[in-house]
Symmetry: C3
Subunit: 205 residues, 3 copies
């Protein structure tokens, strides 16, 4: 489905931009920033693919992911100020990306024959662990402390998707509804912890 692929690429771009900006803030050089951008964008899906035995991991088989990450590097380096002004839009696409990666990860896990509970878990891993690996590599205090609400949002979205799938077969509608679940929970979480709203880094997955 084309809109899914488009959102996937946009989500990858926004995740990668977030990773590159974090890396540049941490004084990493360009190649280091590119690596952190790559890890942030595809780390979660990579971990999922490795755990469920779907290797070579997905992004390696489609060159568009690598070009997207390269684009993120270029945009972050040359247009950093402009990008920071777009925070609001970035945050929107970042959250949509989290919702999408959750459901795509869940579906991929089901497709290899694993159970729904594992699929919900792997959906969350797909969406959240790119950021976890980024944090581990940059050795900053584990964002998993503040990020747990995103993990919860992803788990909730996965459960909603499975629930909807059980009662109808409108997959597109179910994806949109469960992705919206993730987006709304995350939005409410950020609104509630209002201070999170003022820094791009802490808003990142």
């Amino acid at each position: 489905m084309d809109w899914i692929y488009a959102l996937d690429i946009i989500g990858t771009l926004v995740f990668a931009i977030s990773g590159v900006l974090t890396a540049l803030d941490n004084k990493l050089d360009l190649v280091g920033a590119a690596i952190i951008g790559l890890v942030t964008a595809v780390g979660g899906g990579t971990l999922r693919d490795v755990l469920i035995g779907e290797t070579p991991v997905g992004w390696m088989k489609d060159p568009n992911y690598l070009w997207t990450i390269l684009l993120a590097l270029i945009l972050s380096y040359f247009f950093k100020k402009y990008i920071l002004k777009l925070r609001r839009s970035l945050f929107l696409f970042d959250t949509i990306g989290i919702g999408l990666f959750t459901i795509l990860g869940l579906q991929k896990t089901l497709s290899v024959g694993l159970s729904p509970a594992i699929a919900v878990l792997m959906g969350m891993v797909s969406a959240v662990f790119g950021g976890v690996i980024r944090d581990v590599l940059t050795n900053i205090v584990p964002l998993i402390f503040r990020r747990e609400i995103y993990a919860s949002a992803c788990l909730a979205g996965g459960v909603v998707f499975l629930g909807l799938e059980a009662i109808n077969n409108q997959q597109t509608v179910n994806m949109l509804l469960s992705m919206s679940t993730v987006v709304v929970i995350r939005y409410l979480a950020v609104r509630y912890h209002w201070s999170l709203n003022f820094s791009l880094e802490s808003k990142k997955d």
Copy 2:
């Protein structure tokens, strides 16, 4: 063999409780604590399975592991004080778990046709690396500093098992003897470094 499966589940429960308690001590929220509990309990076996190419990793194919970890989360959250009083029993089952995971990891590695030396190494990885990954994720000073004695105990237990297997075919007896090796070495290590005995966290694998 039923007693092996029972010990495996109990070991998983105790490892997960230890991970959840560490996470709660580090002020992680419930979902964060659940993730750290999961990683502590199944991280070592997961790494082994990924390295030897046995994917999807084992715990994903048996729902009992996930329920065990959920149980650990509930017990740790609601009965923390009671659990801390059970330290002595927890420590016993934790050590038995380490011994069992070592031998099960070794056997699984042999079963895919890898060499005895690699099997001993993967036995140790199965037992110890859940704790290592937990430490990396919570970004605390690497417990591998104080834990090396557990790694040594696991390596010794693995070698003892292979030695016994070479001279008889009483697998159950050999498992019990080699697991006892791990337990005794670890017990002596903790007794010798007496101070380790007073905190649950430092007693954990």
Copy 3:
């Protein structure tokens, strides 16, 4: 080809020595140091193999890698002072190892049918991520900060190799030329950041 295997083993030995020395500097005990030496030496290739789906990972199928790492542990422990005097030679073999691991990793990635861009990336991962994992495990400030030039050197060497392969079929010559590219870039980088030259640790991959 025998000279490749010989260089591979020597590179593994030097990487492992560097890991063991870092671990001993960080007050890890012998088993901890052995683990860090192993991770430093084979961690990059392990990550590559896991990502491209070539499991069990390569070093597990050839006992010589494990013996080489054991040798590194023994040499580092008993002959530390003598080894530190050999810094210059170690640095040379370390850099040759980086060059070789880059090209071998690239070739292995191509051999499973992945694209040249991914192969260049996996070449870099093979050469550099052993050190990254070592840093994550020892929880020191991420060397990826200072190491990015090595990552760049590896990427450049990979591109040079692919370029040469496109215009001739002298694989041995192409390997030597692209490895030399890595060595020269790294040498110039170290010379330029002159201070890096005085500590073994910061010279490591």
